[in-house]
């Protein structure tokens, strides 16, 4: 899910083009853009988290309880918020489609590698995790 946040890159680049024009006209500042960009994403990310979970949660035979389901949705929601924050940061740094796509994909690949998901943290090489 967080990997697919790279799909936001092209839309974000278009938003940044508009932002650059409006800012040059003195109509719009970076703070209002950042706040608006965050707020507009929140409800949609929540809807995405709920729809995805409704389909896959029981499909994967996860813990069949209401509280567990909503806890899961909460984690997914936080994950998407963080992933979107990363995309916005990277795209602002490098507003070129190929570069921001590559950097975001690399970052997510790195997060997956060291996140304890592919290799549990207990067995991960000491190079990545010292315990």
């Amino acid at each position: 899910m967080s990997f697919m946040a790279v799909a936001y890159v092209p839309a974000m680049i278009e938003d940044l083009e508009t932002f650059r024009k409006e800012r040059a006209n003195g109509l719009y500042g970076p703070l209002s853009f950042s706040v608006a960009n965050f707020l507009i994403g929140v409800p949609y990310l929540f809807i995405i988290a709920v729809i995805f979970s409704l389909i896959t949660y029981w499909l994967s035979n996860f813990h069949n309880a209401g509280q567990a389901f909503w806890t899961w949705v909460g984690w997914l929601f936080l994950d998407l918020l963080a992933a979107e924050g990363l995309v916005v940061l990277v795209t602002s740094l490098a507003p070129i489609f190929v570069i921001s796509l590559a950097v975001t994909a690399f970052a997510n690949g790195l997060w997956m590698s060291v996140g304890g998901f592919l290799v549990p943290m207990g067995t991960l090489n000491v190079f990545w995790k010292c315990e």
Partner: protein
């Protein structure tokens, strides 16, 4: 083997830092705890009893307590730890947003 010298006894290495700023790590840990903290699984039965992949206090009944799975993979499941992870997640989100704002401000 310690690739970065005495790092394992004291300071963090660069790869360590990657784990601790990894939002996916906290989400995954939270989901693992959510799935295994209150669940009980059945073992396969064999001719002379049960074959349990993860030994727990329910082994004699042919069951696996979910927390045994978490322990086997070294996932912390102490109460209150999940809220700490939620806090770290919110902090990561805020830091990304502030950095994004600063980039826009300075460019």
């Amino acid at each position: 083997m310690k690739p970065f010298g005495p790092s394992c006894t004291g300071s963090l290495t660069l790869p360590d830092v990657f784990h601790y700023i990894d939002y996916q790590a906290y989400v995954f840990q939270g989901m693992m705890v959510n799935q295994f903290k209150n669940t009980i699984y059945s073992c396969d039965s064999t001719v002379d009893g049960y074959q349990c992949m993860y030994p727990s206090d329910l082994q004699t009944q042919g069951k696996i307590r979910g927390t045994a799975v978490l322990d086997a993979y070294h996932y912390t499941h102490a109460t209150g730890k999940q809220w700490e992870w939620v806090g770290i997640m919110l902090a990561i989100i805020v830091v990304y947003r502030i950095l994004g704002y600063l980039v826009l401000l300075l460019r």
